[in-house]
């Protein structure tokens, strides 16, 4: 898997003129890597993810997945939205099975794989429950299981834990990190949460707001064996402080 963005720009019409949202974004993402795009609101980061998902078209530049230009949405790029976006009329298991049905698996294969992916996210017990009967964290794990069931080459996460309470968010970050280590997924994460970007990603691109532009890139060189103790370590705190400062300086509104 190789995702290549070359000088991608996006403008939107607003009140009769074109407003630039993304300005010449270029980066690559290779198999098994975890990349985070970190930016405050107005940095166009969600738009960028929607471009990669194929839900929107760029105004300029090119997006390629394994050498082929991205022309629309497809199961090779799994997307997880902030508000879970589960089908409310389907049980947790049926939500996961939905992705498999679209891929045309046989009944027995669907049953097996659904059980497998529910197991992967640790929710085998919740199989028969409706989304509204699940907590936010559980809903998001089902949404991840559903995205994984489509066996995407690349997993796109749009502020996936932004709607969760702090404690649950931290637990979910640890869950996602171990999932990534276990499965060797390629992940593109969009977030405004400095901790989240540094804890999870190997590489972080900082986006400036209005228009979104990559202003700084860093390799996160931290020992991620134990995220919980890493959060408290001084090396992590120093780094997060520095990155938060950079982010602050980028946004004139924050001074």
């Amino acid at each position: 898997m190789s995702l290549v963005l070359d000088s991608v720009s996006k403008t939107f019409p607003l009140a009769g003129r074109q407003v630039s949202v993304l300005d010449r974004i270029s980066f690559t993402l290779e198999t098994g890597r975890f990349l985070a795009l970190l930016g405050s609101s107005g940095s166009g980061k969600s738009t960028l993810l929607r471009l990669v998902a194929g839900l929107e078209r760029p105004s300029g530049g090119s997006l390629e997945l394994d050498g082929a230009p991205i022309r629309g949405p497809g199961p090779d790029r799994g997307m997880v939205f902030q508000n879970y976006s589960l089908y409310p009329w389907l049980s947790a298991a049926a939500n996961v099975a939905f992705a498999l049905e679209l891929r045309g698996f046989s009944r027995s294969e669907i049953r097996e794989r659904t059980a497998f992916y529910l197991e992967v996210v640790g929710l085998a017990d919740a199989a028969r429950r409706l989304p509204r009967e699940l907590s936010g964290g559980m809903q998001q794990r089902i949404a991840i299981a559903r995205a994984l069931a489509a066996e995407p080459r690349l997993l796109l996460l749009d502020e996936p834990f932004g709607a969760l309470d702090l404690q649950i968010r931290e637990a979910m970050q640890e869950f996602l990190h171990s999932l990534w280590r276990r499965t060797g997924l390629s992940v593109l994460l969009i977030t405004h949460d400095v901790d989240e970007a540094l804890l999870l990603a190997e590489r972080v691109h900082l986006l400036s707001p209005r228009p979104g532009r990559i202003v700084e890139s860093l390799e996160v060189d931290l020992d991620k064996q134990d995220l919980r103790s890493l959060r408290l370590s001084s090396s992590f705190q120093t780094l997060r402080h520095a990155v938060a400062e950079s982010l602050r300086r980028l946004d004139p509104e924050l001074g």
Binding site: A53, S85, L102, A147, A150
Partner: protein
């Protein structure tokens, strides 16, 4: 349903807390008042029959079979007219909700037609189709089509965009969007729209039968008027109300069974 009812009042005596008890009390009070006023003879019996007289009229019509044939005549007209309306409204409403072009093309037209009272079409329908079943079925069709269509259109417009986008990123086709996402997603609102508009259909069938019909509950009332049989008019009104209520409750039950996720 729960959303529409106020919170149960904890100050109510325990015996009155069941949601139906107060409603039954209200009904009984009205019945008691009616029996009292009619029994005291303050109003001429010709204008206000006693509950017993209405009951007797009911027993008589039920045993002669008249009541059942009237009910079935009216209900069948409603089912035919409303069924036709639902059959057209479903694809039309979905198309308007899903496509901006179709919506812009048809919405002004529907908005205009919606404000033409359906009973005003009766003279035309009689000129075109005579006095048989067809004009009555068409009246119900015309009277409910636009409301059904617009309410279904709204339901489609409110399908969360992210559900559609999620489906596309999972590899779903346009056909999957329509059949596997939009259709189940709007089912509760569609059933509710049908339940609400069924009341209009039920009104229209009575209107049509009052104007010209050989059978039906409306016809029975207008005949009773001719012979000053107020007991039969009262009976007719009560039966019309009860059948309408029954239809409403059936829709609620259907919704509870098939769309439990939305309650």
């Amino acid at each position: 349903m729960a959303a529409g009812t106020p919170a149960p009042n904890s100050r109510l005596p325990a015996a009155a807390r069941h949601p139906w008890i107060l409603g039954a009390l209200g009904l009984l009070a009205l019945l008691g008042l009616w029996a009292l006023v009619a029994g005291l003879g303050v109003v001429d019996g010709l204008f206000l029959p006693t509950p017993a007289a209405v009951w007797a009229a009911g027993v008589e019509e039920a045993s002669s079979g008249q009541l059942w044939s009237d009910i079935s005549a009216s209900v069948l007209r409603v089912l035919a007219g409303f069924g036709l309306s639902a059959l057209v409204a479903l694809p039309l409403g979905i198309a308007m909700g899903a496509s901006v072009t179709i919506c812009r093309l048809l919405e002004p037209l529907l908005a205009l037609l919606r404000y033409m009272p359906a009973p005003a079409f009766i003279p035309l329908l009689i000129i075109y189709f005579g006095l048989g079943e067809l004009p009555k079925v068409l009246l119900i069709f015309i009277g409910t089509l636009f409301f059904n269509t617009l309410m279904i259109m709204d339901a489609v417009k409110f399908v969360p965009r992210q559900l559609l986008e999620t489906t596309l990123t999972l590899g779903g086709s346009q056909r999957d969007l329509l059949l596997r996402v939009i259709t189940p997603c709007i089912a509760p609102q569609v059933l509710d729209a049908f339940r609400i508009n069924m009341a209009a259909a039920w009104n229209l069938v009575i209107v049509a039968e009052l104007v010209a019909a050989e059978s039906g509950l409306g016809k029975r009332i207008s005949l009773a008027q001719r012979f000053l049989r107020t007991d039969q008019i009262f009976l007719g009104l009560i039966v019309i109300g009860l059948v309408g209520l029954l239809i409403d409750l059936s829709f609620r039950a259907l919704m509870k069974r098939s769309c439990a996720w939305a309650s």
